[in-house]
Symmetry: C2
Subunit: 316 residues, 2 copies
């Protein structure tokens, strides 16, 4: 009979099979990982993020998807800067219950996504979090010096674009979305993007971060008919009289992890054409424009209405 494998032995085994890259001088297993510096002319990107059982995933969620989501959320932030992800360190805070199979699944999910994007996993710490699993991922990346795309930089008149589709992420997308790393990098390389963020709290929640990041607060007018609505959001709206209208879901549901950015009006068509040529499988939609007047406004059949506060209630 083989000796029972403790979770910590299991993790030691998993750590010896983590994805590595040429940038890794010493991976997991020492007090710190040692990494080569970024190539000349590059800066570092640094991000941390945690997901928690019962909030970001459920006890019954496929462990591989849990691992995928934990890493993908951080990758999405690197994407929103126009960067390349290079190395991750993982903290697993384990409930007291036996977790062997789940841990293996989580690492499988992390590993597959990391390999697909050329990310090394260079540390895997474990601790105890009685009652619920928590996974923290810290991620390093690189970006050409001075080329990181920030949240600030939007200007009145800019066209507002969003990648992919929005809303209804809870029905599956939040567990298997593919972070838009190649797309974010391409956008940064165009030099056209004024401001960018990844949509984690809905366009209605995150667009204000772009509009309020500069010295003068700006607003946005969105075109209701242009909002790209995910099929799951349409279906959920149809399935119940009490559900949010699908366009509201698209604008206010969380965890889309799409890229939201602005470009000067003259760059809108070239960026759209370039994107379609480069990423034919990924929708890119112009959903509106940046305006001088602060606030979020939605233009529909009934004219222009404020999206939040009292207006938001009307709109619902």
């Amino acid at each position: 009979m083989p000796a029972p494998v403790t979770e910590f032995e299991l993790i030691a085994t998993l750590k010896s099979h983590l994805p590595l890259t040429a940038a890794v001088v010493h991976g997991a297993g020492d007090d710190c990982a040692v990494l080569a510096p970024p190539a000349p002319g590059h800066e570092l990107l640094f991000k941390t993020d945690a997901i928690v059982e019962g909030i970001h995933f459920l006890p019954e969620t496929d462990p591989q998807k849990i691992g995928h989501k934990a890493l993908a959320r951080c990758l999405s932030d690197i994407a929103a800067m126009g960067g390349t992800a290079t190395a991750a360190v993982i903290t697993l805070a384990l409930p007291a219950a036996p977790e062997g199979e789940r841990i293996e699944g989580i690492y499988r999910g992390i590993r597959k996504l990391a390999e697909r994007h050329g990310v090394a996993v260079v540390g895997g710490e474990t601790t105890t979090n009685p009652g619920r699993l928590l996974i923290n991922v810290a991620l390093l990346g690189t970006v050409r010096t001075g080329r990181a795309v920030l949240r600030r930089g939007a200007r009145a008149g800019d066209a507002i674009f969003v990648s992919g589709e929005l809303g209804g992420s809870i029905h599956g997308h939040h567990l298997d979305f593919e972070p838009r790393l190649a797309e974010g990098r391409w956008l940064a390389e165009t030099g056209c993007v004024h401001a960018m963020i990844d949509v984690s709290d809905g366009v209605a929640g995150d667009l204000p971060h772009l509009l309020q990041a500069g010295e003068t607060p700006l607003g946005a007018e969105l075109l209701k008919s242009a909002i790209p609505i995910r099929r799951a959001a349409r279906e959920a709206a149809r399935a119940s009289d009490t559900a949010k209208p699908s366009v509201v879901a698209a604008l206010t549901d969380g965890e889309d992890f799409e890229l939201l950015f602005t470009v000067a009006p003259r760059d809108a068509v070239p960026v759209l054409d370039g994107w379609k040529a480069k990423f034919p499988g990924v929708p890119l939609t112009c959903i509106g424009k940046v305006v001088d007047r602060p606030g979020l406004w939605l233009r529909g059949e009934d004219g222009l209405r404020p999206m939040i506060g009292k207006g938001y209630e009307h709109f619902r």
Copy 2:
């Protein structure tokens, strides 16, 4: 009456007062932090670590000490590589209960320690962890290329040194220890250190990491009378008949966060003399030597006895 401040507003305020350094291009507040690359001729160090309420600290622990400990543990790992810490990102996973005052205290503890060691805090994420506070710190550092001191490299005959004193950390040291960054850097610069680790699981727990890191497992003979025992460990041993003998506490208690390293016998005296001149306030003790025979052995009045397994029971 001022509007009530939510925890998330509070954290936004705290984030705007995080310590920065010249290496920070863009700190907290965007999708990722942007950092200057390390100086030419340097590699990166990367580490993550979490502390959890009820395990690493108690509900009643001084919040400033919680923050201190969260960062200090990671800094100790950078110290054990001979590196310089540069930038940290913090994840606070907050219980549902109101935590405003505690969060301020935690950030105060982090900030004071970060400032003392020239570490920028470039991200502060928050999430929810119902029932207990969890803090994850991810830390970046730098080290001269090829000069990181690893766990592997110990050789039979090496002298074994430990900084500071050991044991009884639970009586206070674990919450206010000062990570040995300057000491670790100085040791790395001597070029004499074969292998180094920071002692987090007791010398008896961590010394094997140095002895088993190479291709041939090694052992160690420690001199019982040489073990530097912390006063708190002596007092705890005296206070109760059922407590561990103080030397056992010194070797097996956790969370010393001292540097444990080996040097060639011919370098032992020069390293000790150099250390005393450079760090007169910090003890450095030669506690034994690396031997060919695997295992941990303790030399006392009654001769040489194995420290673990059956022998360990005898020894107790």
